[in-house]
Symmetry: C2
Subunit: 354 residues, 2 copies
């Protein structure tokens, strides 16, 4: 089957001569009880933009193209950072920032709204070289939560700041901040109104809620020329979530992990299950203590344990050898990657991986 | 060497006839590069009240006795819950609540104050049977944060509530809440004044700060008659911490973990390092994926990896077979345990374990 993700968007906007689009599918599907996943060699950068029930019949060709362009632009930005001599952390931050600015994804501007019509932004970043980490939960002001998380890692003795503490740290650091209204897009305001009208509160049956009401986290994993890995994740959480709810995205070990010895992981999905299974650290631990390969670790953790517990979602995980796995239990996951030689692939639906 | 922890406090206050005090040391020390630890068989309940540079010369006999009595009372409360047919979660909650009420420990009433003179309370609980978990971070009102964490686990679809969201959930649940002033003890108010006078901010050199300015987390692990494990942790964090800083205690996988297949873990110490090493989940993962025994897992994670990264602290970890390990890198850790036959042991200093 041809790579459908590459047939619908133009090459005209690609600024980097080094970027070539992948015309042939380079990934290998791996079957399992809970779904399957891509396994792609020689990857230096990969992103996700959320996993969920993304159905072709609900996507207009225009929306499909907008998502693919946004994913491509994020990959370009991350790859440009690597090409410019940046390290894996630079690439992760560079790839996530445009997704935070895009109203298409549930992070930064365009993040879902809590029951009070406000964004609460979570993000985390981890450095595989030193095992350093930084995170923020429930921030309301940073334009780029991933940048704030990186500042927490580099400029504070702490790993995690929550709520007002995160916003105060952003101000103290001189990070770019925005007014509350800037984050709210018409799409999210309408979504909240619809949900409140039908009383779809955070305790309602999550399984039946459409993807854009719950998931949409963005994330990135990168491998730099020195062999260092990094991972980052950024999200607005679940739409109409209870005030103050924190999911897996800012939790080191749940939504994000990186260690040069094993892999870099960024997760998306129903966060509570990712916390209860410590999915990101579990992949690392299966490799380090269980001598599993990354594909086996990802398959057993994400495609078997996660759905067995009732959870859903996916991740991108990049091994120290450049092997990318992108497992997800859902019908689709916004995702993409760049190989060592600059070839870009973006995908949305599950059946594109076959 | 005799068990010095048992020579200084009276038996008169013990309400449970089934509780016998351990006159002979039942634990086996295990040497390692970073320290050593107790390994005790046939344990059903264990607690810690914080790890740090607890020196005999800084403890009056009266203070020593007060700590040993408070630890004993907590163990009694937890053991009584088990004896009454409660499960491991009941025992964990029952043991932690009196420590939260005690001004001796850094949790609940008597928690350390942030730079603004307020408490910010973190707690988490995990059920080894179902893998369920609940946690709160930066709460200001619950008298018993561990009880609130358990409500999050049982009465919400979420795992973690932060800051005002945690307090709102407490109110919605009808949990006992207290005014801000109730939590502040004269000792902590004086401590904050002293620290502010010498400008010992959270960015100051933590290694040189006395234990009661940084650690003092409480925690419990329990094994019930059905073979189920549970773990819980509760803390006020670090004294004069930055507003909104969250440590490892409310982070499932960092400060707390429980799985019937392996162990229940509650950590105390310099939280940022416990997050970066996912210590609690790491013990589980070493056992599950690496086929390590609990003593080896605890030694390598807590006594080797933790100090190698520059961190310090300890944990109590209870295996499904009743093996307790209590490793710590510090001079002392407030700790205690009850064996299957009701024998209680409490200890403070490191040299009591030999």
């Amino acid at each position: 089957m041809s790579d459908q993700s590459l047939t619908r968007f133009s090459l005209g906007h690609l600024p980097l001569a080094s970027l070539l689009l992948c015309a042939a599918c380079t990934s290998t599907p791996v079957g399992s009880a809970g779904g399957d996943m891509e396994v792609v060699p020689d990857v230096v950068l990969a992103i996700h933009g959320g996993a969920g029930t993304i159905l072709r019949e609900n996507m207009t060709p225009e929306m499909d193209q907008r998502y693919r362009q946004a994913l491509t632009q994020a990959l370009e930005a991350g790859y440009a950072a690597l090409e410019a001599g940046g390290d894996a952390l630079d690439a992760v931050e560079a790839a996530i920032r445009p997704m935070e600015d895009s109203p298409l994804f549930n992070s930064g501007r365009g993040a879902v709204l809590n029951d009070e019509g406000e964004v609460e932004l979570d993000a985390s970043i981890m450095d595989g070289a030193e095992g350093l980490a930084g995170a923020v939960a429930g921030a309301r002001t940073p334009r780029h939560p991933i940048t704030l998380a990186r500042r927490v890692m580099n400029e504070s003795p702490h790993v995690l700041f929550a709520a007002e503490g995160a916003d105060r740290f952003a101000e103290a650091q001189g990070i770019e901040t925005m007014e509350a209204a800037w984050f709210v897009t018409p799409r999210r305001a309408d979504q909240l109104k619809r949900m409140q009208a039908r009383d779809a509160s955070s305790t309602a049956d999550l399984a039946r809620r459409p993807v854009d009401e719950k998931f949409g986290t963005v994330g990135c994993v990168a491998l730099d020329g020195d062999g260092h890995l990094a991972a980052g994740t950024s999200t607005g959480g679940m739409a109409r979530k209870a005030f103050g709810r924190v999911g897996d995205s800012p939790i080191i070990g749940a939504g994000t992990w990186a260690a040069d010895a094993t892999c870099a992981v960024s997760c998306t999905g129903h966060g509570e299950f990712f916390i209860r299974l410590a999915i990101a650290h579990q992949l690392h631990a299966r490799m380090l203590f269980g001598d599993q390969g990354l594909p086996q670790a990802a398959r057993e953790a994400v495609l078997e344990e996660l759905p067995a517990l009732g959870g859903s979602g996916g991740c991108v995980a990049l091994g120290a050898d450049g092997t990318l796995v992108a497992p997800f239990t859902t019908a689709g996951m916004y995702r993409g990657w760049v190989t060592r030689n600059g070839v870009v692939t973006v995908r949305i639906h599950g059946d594109e991986r076959r």
